[in-house]
Symmetry: C2
Subunit: 110 residues, 2 copies
């Protein structure tokens, strides 16, 4: 899938990564998986904001979430990065562009 993404997939990934907070989230999760509250503290942003960005990242398939119980019974949501790999070159874009949805159809893909 990373070899030849569809136009829409590529567009989603680009749109999702085009944000400083989300880039930092990916960077942090690449170093080590964590749970929401801790990540919010580390990055210095509010939990609500972080959750929103995490939701987008997850929707784009760039991270995955797992709900786990800590030893003392607290529910914690751990996130980790998906090992994605996209090549960003004129040729790759030229190959993907023809499959971009024409703005009318497509509703249930996202």
């Amino acid at each position: 899938m990373s070899a030849e993404p569809t136009g829409d997939e590529l567009l989603t990934v680009l749109g999702t990564l085009a944000n400083p907070h989300r880039l930092r989230v990916i960077a942090a999760l690449t170093r080590e998986r964590t749970y929401v509250s801790r990540l919010a503290r580390d990055l210095g942003i509010s939990r609500a904001l972080l959750q929103l960005h995490l939701r987008k990242l997850e929707a784009a398939g760039l991270v995955t979430a797992r709900l786990e119980l800590s030893p003392d019974g607290k529910a914690m949501k751990f996130y980790e990065v998906t090992p994605f790999a996209y090549r960003l070159t004129p040729q790759a874009i030229a190959a993907a562009a023809p499959t971009l949805s024409t703005d009318d159809a497509e509703k249930g893909t996202r």
Copy 2:
């Protein structure tokens, strides 16, 4: 530069490419260089809109413009893609993220 882009550079590129019109422009210019009016007709969008997108693409360094005179003396602005290449992986992002501007400084770079 493509090997290890700064966080801000990467962010700019991602933000610039995260648009269906601009992806189509890159795709079209990869096939052949053209001038503004023709490209607008080919893509089926208004010239004003296309110029806006071309400006962004040029600002991000993804395309270059050259003003040329056609045989009959008309001024035409030809665009062509820059042969860029970015790798989009968790590791690449983790490497670039630390150099993201912290939102206070940086004014004259863009």
